[in-house]
Symmetry: C2
Subunit: 377 residues, 2 copies
């Protein structure tokens, strides 16, 4: 113990084997089950990508059909959960509501404590379908609107936009959102996924692991960055000044510019490439190029000034805003996507489980410290 | 990455510095802030021990008085949380209810997203007081009994027994329960505490971290062992056979005997010493020595046969049963104690924070796997 090296934040420490996600930070490569994220973003769907993450390979045509059917049929949330949303104080944030709802959902699971693979697969379908419904329903409820029933004719991404807006989304919107879901679906041992694995490693249940993951994702160092990016863009728009001057001033005051750099990537985050493209396309289609243009100028400046690349969060901000999604739903939407990866990791952890229990390097008062009676203190 | 050594379960990996808990597994030493657990069990109280964990030293007399007053005043649970308990399905387990309630409680916190030290200290008082109230109230509600109001004249341990049973506990019961709370209050980077630190490391809020910790504690490899011990004792009593023969048969069938061995301790778990003593004393006082005698014989047999020592869970089973506590409250009671340690660790993590994000050793299909169009699969 006393001579151990401590790696803060476990940076670079290899915590377990995993066959789900391949990241080469130096080459800027992200791949699910060996397939490059660029190929998946261009050719796959969220359903197919979820299949890939859970089963380890791409599905055949009938397998994908069956998978999509099962995911669609899993779009069921007990009405009591919506009542729970209504009972929470008005000030509750979407992430608190989501975390509480997912925790409560275990009580409606027919076999909540089961951790065998079949049970966990069933729960993965349920939670993936429900996560999207919960986010959409919570937003409707807090706005005093009626919860929209899921539409079984719509795929996962389109159904989310339908349940959120109460209008059938245009194909460009569904397609963009589907790609955003693919891009965020997994990222190896990020903090929320790792939290899920630590929890699952005790043989606790799937809902416990996912509840913990939502809690981790809620943190500004993890899921909150694209929200912070958009707050900055809104602030720039409000002040009416030049975006580059705004960011220059942030840097001069040693303030963090969100949406740049990544612990793992040393080159461009491969997900940023697609989000930039989609943000541009959507902004052209909608005729509102303001956020995209602003983002582009900031990106160029930060890249020149600080040698930092835009990460996944930078262009998802303008993309989601153009899709009509509220700022405080950005992180919940991250969960709508990452649930596919979280559940894949929980299943993988349990396939070859060992309790995750590291040690600490003790830095406190040297043992033994005497217990001094209170009258002598 | 490719040449990294993977330590399954992070066993022996030093994840961070910590000044809270000192464990010497070879010497069988457990100490909080350097003070031996034996001294604390004999001389301290749960309140004083919580002070020690949070502030790093024993309090002076007026400091302890102020601390206890603040903890007593924090005994407030919004009635909506009890309504939430009532709204959950009858089949809900206490750990699911506790996890959901703690998650929901953030919505009533005046500054839920704040992670500065003062806010977290305030939340530590609140959650420590509330955890005990939630467990007691949930048990009353599920039994169709009235929730008992907290009694400000009673210290933490006694107030819990009062709220659980609706009767003023005898001093021996309060004292035993107080010691049990001291013994379980912290244990370095156990899985639930580590989960809490992973979550807090994203700068997520205290309630998220504690919700995740409850989820981890719920797992049978972590918090469930004393419940499993007691189920075994009940089963032995029901079958009416000899305890030693029962356990011999378990071992012969390669089945796990819960309550023995520990990943960290190579000698007797120092907490077991006190729980054995308390179990014996309580059983004498109550005139019901059955569970203690049975435990003693099993302990002796397993020690001789397998060279395994009883751990913290083995005698807590008979102790809690003699205190009139239901089997499925054993793990929630663990949370009632460990909340002191969880909150101490969250505050320590944030005092010198770094996002906890390890890497995986990739074992999946070699990159790049080609995306084969669906018609060609």
């Amino acid at each position: 113990m006393a001579t151990a090296t401590v790696t803060k934040g476990l940076e670079g420490v290899v915590a377990a084997n995993s066959g789900i996600c391949w990241i080469d930070g130096y080459a800027g490569v992200l791949a699910y089950r060996g397939i490059d994220i660029h190929e998946l973003a261009q050719k796959s769907t969220f359903e197919e990508t979820s299949y890939l993450l859970w089963y380890g390979r791409l599905p055949g045509r009938s397998e994908l059909k069956e998978f999509s059917k099962r995911l669609t049929e899993a779009r069921r949330v007990p009405p009591q959960i919506y009542d729970l949303f209504r009972a929470l104080p008005k000030s509750v944030t979407p992430m608190e509501a989501l975390r509480t709802a997912v925790s409560a959902l275990s009580a409606y699971d027919p076999d909540e404590s089961a951790v065998d693979h079949d049970s966990n697969l069933r729960k993965s379908f349920a939670l993936t379908a429900q996560m999207a419904m919960l986010v959409a329903a919570f937003d409707r409820i807090r706005k005093g609107k009626k919860v929209v029933e899921p539409d079984p004719s719509l795929p996962h991404a389109a159904n989310f936009l339908w349940m959120l807006h109460g209008e059938k989304p245009i194909p460009a919107a569904s397609n963009t959102f589907d790609i955003a879901l693919i891009l965020h679906a997994d990222h190896e041992f990020n903090a929320s996924t790792f939290a899920a694995r630590v929890i699952a490693g005790t043989l606790s249940d799937m809902h416990s692991a996912i509840t913990g993951a939502i809690g981790a994702l809620k943190g500004p160092l993890h899921g909150g960055a694209n929200e912070a990016v958009m707050r900055m863009l809104f602030d720039i728009a409000k002040q009416g000044g030049d975006p580059v001057e705004y960011v220059r001033s942030l840097l001069a005051h040693k303030k963090k510019v969100f949406g740049f750099g990544h612990r793992v990537y040393r080159t461009e985050d491969p997900r940023a490439t697609h989000l930039r493209r989609m943000s541009e396309q959507l902004s052209r289609d909608s005729g509102n190029t303001k956020w995209y243009e602003m983002s582009r100028r900031i990106e160029e400046f930060v890249k020149n000034e600080k040698k930092l690349n835009a990460n996944v969060d930078f262009y998802s901000a303008s993309t989601y805003t153009t899709l009509g999604i509220d700022l405080d739903l950005f992180t919940p939407i991250f969960a709508v996507s990452r649930i596919a990866g979280w559940t894949a990791h929980v299943m993988e952890q349990l396939g070859d489980n060992r309790l995750i229990r590291p040690r600490a390097e003790y830095t406190g008062p040297e043992y033994p410290v005497r217990y001094v009676p209170i009258e002598q203190r």
